[in-house]
């Protein structure tokens, strides 16, 4: 599986090991972390949920596209679901390749596509006591926003 979910902390040491290849000259990874602010609000914690059956299919398609599009050796994406605290890792992408350029490009491609296409939702909890589903509450208030639609 080149795209998967985990309920617990992402094991980057193990994940990186899955990318090893004698023909690879390097590897690029991206970690997405829980940040303490968003859109002017102080964030205290997050919850992620996913429609996993479709999300895994779509995630696999994204990684397969990256492997077709860029001459890299291996690629893997792991997304966490459940309750996360500040600075926890929400997502990890890793790519190994013969040369660094295509590894950076493929890694960027995968995280960008995952954010736009995979059915994963994020609920932010704020210091004010409010909470909200990212991209949903504001969409409801201003239906002309289309930024979340791929």
């Amino acid at each position: 599986m080149r795209f998967r979910f985990t309920q617990t902390a992402i094991d980057t040491t193990q994940a990186r090991r899955e990318l090893l290849d004698l023909g690879a000259g390097g590897y690029v990874s991206f970690e997405g972390w829980v940040r303490d602010h968003n859109e002017g609000q102080e964030v205290t914690r997050l919850e992620y949920e996913a429609f996993q059956e479709l999300a895994v299919k779509e995630g696999e398609r994204i990684v397969a596209e990256a492997l077709r599009r860029f001459p890299v050796k291996h690629a893997l994406c792991i997304h966490r679901v459940g309750a996360l605290g500040l600075s926890d890792m929400a997502v990890w992408v890793g790519v190994s390749s013969a040369h660094r350029g295509e590894a950076f490009d493929a890694c960027r491609f995968i995280i960008d596509e995952v954010k736009h296409r995979v059915p994963i939702w994020k609920k932010e909890h704020y210091r004010s006591g409010d909470s909200g589903w990212v991209n949903c509450e504001r969409c409801a208030a201003a239906p002309h926003h289309t930024h979340a639609h791929a």
Binding site: F51, H79, W121, W133
Partner: protein
């Protein structure tokens, strides 16, 4: 006909449930969403959503058949 509907995120909260078997005469996901919006007061418009039938993205105009599993997909926010 009976459909299986699963709800996620904002829509799960608005429907007050994560899934249900739903008896409907809705011919398409678009008709079904209109019917469910009258029932639950969903605030997202159909233009803001995607829809999946049997765990694959679908057109809103697909003909539904008995037993189909339908999921409405609010704007995503992974990463």
């Amino acid at each position: 006909m009976q459909l299986k509907i699963q709800y996620y995120a904002l829509m799960r909260e608005q429907a007050g449930r994560s899934e249900e078997s739903f008896e409907t005469s809705a011919a398409t996901p678009a008709d079904l969403y209109d019917e469910l919006t009258r029932r639950y007061g969903f605030t997202l418009t159909r233009e803001q959503l995607k829809v999946a039938v049997n765990s694959e993205f679908s057109d809103w105009s697909r003909r539904l058949t008995a037993g189909d599993a339908v999921v409405f997909i609010p704007p995503v926010a992974g990463g």
